[in-house]
């Protein structure tokens, strides 16, 4: 099983959209994919139109009460397996101070799933230094830094990389960092220049595929399904299909 954590401390850069639709694209290729929503705002859960009813388990139960991850898994549109989140997940930040090695909770829970899945995608909250992101980085093989192709986002990404370096050092974690450009609008000259700058900055770590701005992606989120289900022929679906192909290619997740 390959585990990818989609991270960035900045909100609104397309982490959840990328996580949901990459999961959809991988599932469409016949891969067994589990998307774990690690954001207390539960946007990935909502984007797949899953609601956690009373008595049903979520990732909060897994991390706070030790419920097996398998019990929290749900079927979602597009052939994705989802581990939903609830607002209760926010309590982990508080309870972490009373827990030994709180950043290892998710990695321990996921160990049992290794043989049952091809990919696990972790949708992280918009912060780089919290215990939830630390759990994701501890559990992942690859941290995918989701970077909106805009000037301030690029600065934020460079800061995030420094935080990841420190976290990796502190936790003695081993993960590769790859960068995914999102919200790209190639019709504007500024966006094109920023992509050139992003390529110059991240070079081989930057995925060949850049996710373009797309109305279809917004519609897919509003409809509670991945874009591959809503409109498999649209450009956004093709972007994620290409990204999935890159992720599945042998050696693509090896050190750059």
């Amino acid at each position: 099983m390959k585990t990818l954590a989609l991270v960035n401390q900045k909100g609104g850069c397309g982490k959840t959209t990328a996580a949901v639709n990459l999961a959809g694209a991988l599932a469409a290729r016949g891969q067994r994919v589990c998307l774990v929503d690690l954001d207390p705002q539960a946007h990935a859960t909502m984007a797949l139109s899953v609601a956690v009813e009373r008595g049903e388990s979520s990732i909060a139960d897994v991390l706070l009460r030790g419920v097996p991850l398998r019990e929290a898994m749900r079927s979602a549109p597009g052939g994705i397996t989802l581990v939903p989140a609830t607002l209760e997940l926010g309590e982990l930040e508080e309870s972490a101070v009373r827990t030994l090695q709180p950043e290892r909770l998710l990695a321990s829970a996921m160990r049992a799933l290794d043989a049952d899945l091809d990919f696990a995608l972790l949708d992280c909250p918009p912060r780089a230094d919290g215990v939830l992101t630390a759990n994701a980085l501890r559990a992942c093989d690859v941290a995918v830094l989701v970077v909106e192709i805009s000037a301030f986002a690029l600065q934020g990404a460079i800061q995030a990389l420094r935080v990841f370096d420190e976290l990796a050092l502190d936790m003695d974690a081993r993960f590769e960092v790859r960068v995914l450009g999102t919200l790209f609008d190639r019709r504007t000259e500024m966006a094109r220049e920023l992509l050139i700058g992003t390529q110059a900055r991240f070079a081989g770590r930057l995925f060949d595929t850049v996710i373009h701005q797309s109305t279809r992606l917004r519609e897919a989120v509003a409809s509670g399904m991945p874009v591959q289900v809503l409109d498999p022929a649209c450009r956004a679906a093709r972007d994620f299909e290409a990204l999935a192909e890159e992720v599945c290619a042998p050696g693509i997740l090896a050190p750059v």
């Binding site: 060949d208 850049v210 109305t215 290409a242 192909e245």
Partner: protein, 214 residues
């Protein structure tokens, strides 16, 4: 992301075009530069003019990716001003702004840059101080950072003669090392023609689900 993937994302449909190029055994920007427009049009399911424009963009991108990042920072911050007798100033004006651009006038301003700037009507120090922008960098093939440096030298030469327009604003946030005074574009023929030509060599944008690139 290599240069070829970058080009496909900048001026075409990204993954689809990249896949078609790789299927045609085009593995780098250099190889793309050498391809004939007719063959490329066939590979990309595009028109020959589009293929020609794509090759032209590849050529420019090669230049930008290989170009040095700019003149050395220890270069004198104020451009040397040639003596009045040695410079070819038009007789109509003796101001610093009206001075014609010449190789060596500013660090990094060589003969090729002068010629490329002149072909876009940037012939004087004043024009250079006002014209630096992404559009001009892309059209002339001069790296953006070099163009910014040249423009800064031009503004400093103007400032030395009391002809600069002081207007620093938040538009300078992209300047990494020092703030460059923001010079608003004059309302004139140059600005208008730049707006009209800003996407001159960009391949047409397709609608979401169709188009010549898939």
């Amino acid at each position: 992301m290599d240069g070829l993937a970058l080009l496909c994302n900048l001026f075409a449909d990204g993954p689809v075009t990249l896949k078609r190029l790789r299927a045609a055994r085009v593995a780098s920007l250099d190889e793309l530069e050498r391809a004939s427009p007719e063959r490329l049009a066939e590979w990309l399911h595009a028109s020959v003019p589009q293929a020609r424009a794509f090759i032209e963009e590849a050529r420019k991108l090669v230049g930008r990716l290989c170009a040095p990042t700019g003149p050395p920072r220890q270069a004198p911050v104020v451009a040397s001003v040639p003596s009045v007798s040695s410079r070819p100033v038009p007789s109509a004006s003796r101001s610093a702004g009206a001075r014609t651009l010449q190789p060596g006038l500013f660090p990094g301003l060589d003969e090729g840059a002068c010629a490329r700037l002149a072909s876009y009507q940037v012939r004087t120090v004043r024009a250079l101080s006002e014209a630096a922008g992404l559009a001009l960098a892309r059209r002339t093939g001069i790296p953006y950072s070099t163009l910014l440096d040249l423009s800064r030298h031009a503004r400093r030469a103007l400032a030395a003669h009391g002809e600069a327009r002081p207007a620093p604003t938040a538009a300078n946030v992209l300047a990494e090392r020092e703030l460059v005074p923001f010079v608003p574009r004059p309302r004139g023929a140059l600005a208008e023609s730049e707006l009209e030509r800003s996407d001159e060599f960009t391949l047409p944008v397709e609608p979401e689900s169709a188009g010549p690139f898939g």
